[in-house]
């Protein structure tokens, strides 16, 4: 059982026009086995929250705290956070030329576990996970994200999540840009990992469509760098029908 606790998190970014405050006091607790959907308009700071949790150097934490099972996440380096059990599926996964997917996965797995995985089971695990995500085995020899379609990149993110088995995963718009088939495959992947490992999930999304496949336990409305309202599944349906106007007017 793990708990990620975000308290009063403030983050800013340096822009040519000066320091810009983006996160303005985020409070959120995610336990193992829970799925929290975060929904909010463009530019409200959802990705910033995701990056801040992962430790992206661009974002400066100016106030607040983040702990994972009591450990200070903000004091950890980017790779230490991953080793502690955090995972971020990125909205825009990065291409890494010259590094094959299989080499990348093995290196990451070795780093996270602190020892190289047993070759035989590892090869089998990778193959099974790729099959389940309908990724052709040729992807293993391709360079990380290089020339991948949008949907392939997202599947590759979930592949990593499955193999690295984190405690808490942040999925930043993993559903955006996917057609229905791909959405189903990716969602099944997420559910499978959740069933197998019981991880906690922060699911950032614009669309309620994914919530047909992945059942959220909580829905949070994210507006202007804060959580403006929380509820259950029904809140998502209301957002779908009404949009964010009600929140933006008051923001």
């Amino acid at each position: 059982m793990s708990t990620l606790e975000i308290k009063n998190l403030h983050a800013s970014v340096e822009t040519p026009e000066g320091t810009k405050q983006i996160l303005k006091g985020v409070d959120l607790t995610i336990n193992s086995g829970e799925t929290h959907a975060i929904m909010g308009p463009n530019g409200s700071g959802k990705s910033t929250l995701a990056y801040s949790l992962a430790g992206h150097p661009k974002y400066e934490i100016t106030e607040g705290s983040v702990t994972l099972d009591g450990e200070d996440v903000l004091a950890m380096s980017v790779d230490e956070r991953a080793k502690a059990g955090m995972f971020l599926a990125m909205q825009y996964p990065v291409e890494v030329p010259g590094v094959s997917v299989s080499n990348f996965l093995r290196t990451a797995k070795t780093a996270i576990d602190g020892e190289a995985p047993k070759l035989r089971t590892w090869v089998k695990d990778v193959k099974k996970s790729m099959d389940d995500l309908r990724m052709d085995s040729s992807f293993a020899e391709r360079n990380v994200n290089e020339g991948f379609s949008g949907g392939e990149k997202k599947r590759h993110e979930i592949l990593q999540m499955e193999l690295l088995a984190p405690k808490i995963a942040v999925l930043d718009e993993t559903d955006s840009g996917l057609d229905v088939d791909a959405l189903r495959i990716v969602s099944e992947g997420v559910n499978r990992v959740k069933d197998n490992t019981g991880l906690g999930i922060m699911l950032i999304t614009h669309y309620t469509r994914i919530l047909k496949y992945i059942q959220p336990d909580f829905v949070h409305v994210f507006v202007n760098g804060q959580i403006a309202e929380q509820g259950g599944r029904e809140l998502a349906d209301r957002l779908e029908a009404e949009g964010y106007d009600r929140f933006l007017a008051s923001a």
Binding site: D79, A82, V96, P97, V99, S100, A111
Partner: protein, 400 residues
């Protein structure tokens, strides 16, 4: 038709084309060659072939005067059919495939007082690589070397340069008809060595040259390689790998001269740069003359900039005088291992050092496999890891 493009990369301008230096409108074929030092003026740094070069370091090797130093040669027992002999100055000139192409090289030939000749007799097939190590003892050295591969011979020759020296050389590589030669030149100098070299190869009919150049060491290394086809059906593969740290200048100029029909050339050079004052230059000229019908050529240069400030210049230049070619192309790209890539890898638990290693090893892996000598391939991967350790130390100091 002349196609030139120029890419240059620094940390802040990752890749630009067509930077304001003039395209050489004179054909590459017009450059003089001579054993007479006076045929070449002392370069000012404005010449096309010198404009990127560290003339301050190279200057001592441009003076028309003797140098009294030597390199130590460590030569294994040579297999039957292979000899290494000293050659008189007159013979050395006579047996060179052509005269030197610039002043540094002309000075090297003029003051080497003869040459060392590595000769592989016709029809000799040597299975094991011939590994020669030359070591500098901090002296000023001029050298002239002949590598002669007899008709239908087959051999791999590795020449490894170590230690330190102020060293200039003229290397002539002669492939007789149907010869196959794999020549590997390893520049593993200590960090204060200065090296200016010209390697000129002539390829006889149906011959095959695989020429690999690896430059890791030295303060300044400027290595010009030319390959000229003298008979039809020959092919040349020129591979290069370089890794420049702070304070290092590594320059590789290439010229492939397609003067006869139906020959193939491939030039593949890759370099990594790390450290604020790391500097690399690659100039790749390919000339396809009117007679050279059905030529097939491709040249590629890729650079990977690992840290702020390092600068890579890359200038491919393709001159085509016939419409009857099988294929001709070039590519030049300089990329940065950027913060986003680093973040992505680290967010998967991979440490900063390991991330850099992953990317650099990946960048060089296919090239290293092309060298075709397993022992060299292995030691190169180790040498690259060692380079990376330096980079990590340097970066750690910067952060501190």
């Amino acid at each position: 038709m002349t196609v030139t493009d120029h890419s240059r990369a620094t940390a802040d301008a990752a890749h630009t084309h067509g930077l304001g230096t003039p395209t050489p409108d004179a054909s590459r074929a017009d450059r003089p060659t001579s054993f007479d030092v006076d045929a070449f003026a002392v370069p000012t740094g404005r010449e096309e072939e010198w404009r990127f070069s560290p003339l301050k370091d190279i200057k001592p090797m441009l003076a028309d005067q003797a140098a009294d130093g030597h390199l130590e040669w460590d030569v294994p027992a040579l297999p039957a059919g292979v000899t290494l002999t000293e050659v008189s100055p007159a013979d050395a000139r006579e047996r060179s495939v052509r005269a030197p192409g610039d002043r540094a090289s002309a000075v090297a030939a003029a003051h080497a007082s003869g040459a060392m000749a590595l000769t592989i007799a016709p029809n000799t097939v040597v299975d094991e690589p011939i590994q020669i190590t030359v070591t500098g003892r901090g002296e000023d050295v001029r050298g002239h070397l002949l590598v002669e591969a007899g008709a239908s011979s087959e051999a791999t020759v590795i020449i490894e340069r170590r230690g330190t020296a102020t060293y200039s050389e003229f290397v002539s590589v002669d492939l007789a008809d149907n010869a196959g030669l794999n020549l590997v030149l390893l520049q593993l100098w200590d960090e204060d060595a200065v090296h200016a070299g010209e390697v000129v190869a002539r390829l006889g009919r149906d011959s095959r040259l695989r020429g690999s150049v690896v430059t890791l060491g030295g303060k300044a290394v400027r290595l010009n390689t030319s390959a000229a086809f003298a008979g039809e059906g020959a092919s040349v593969d020129l591979f290069g790998l370089y890794f420049a740290d702070s304070g290092q200048h590594q320059e590789h100029q290439l010229f492939v001269d397609h003067a006869v029909p139906r020959c193939t050339s491939r030039v593949t050079y890759k370099g990594a740069l790390a450290g604020a004052t790391a500097r690399t230059v690659w100039i790749g000229d390919v000339l396809i003359r009117k007679e050279a019908e059905e030529t097939d050529t491709y040249e590629l240069n890729r650079n990977l900039v690992l840290t702020d400030g390092a600068r890579a210049d890359s200038v491919p230049n393709l001159e085509i005088e016939t419409g009857e070619i099988a294929g001709a192309g070039h590519a030049s790209a300089t990329g940065r291992f950027d913060d986003e890539q680093m973040f992505y890898l680290r967010s998967r638990g991979i440490s900063e050092e390991e991330a850099r290693k992953l990317v650099v090893r990946g960048f060089f892996a296919d090239l290293i496999q092309e060298i075709g000598v397993p022992t060299v391939e292995e030691s190169l991967m180790k040498a690259i890891d060692l380079e990376l350790e330096h980079v990590n130390e340097e970066l750690a100091e910067e952060h501190a």
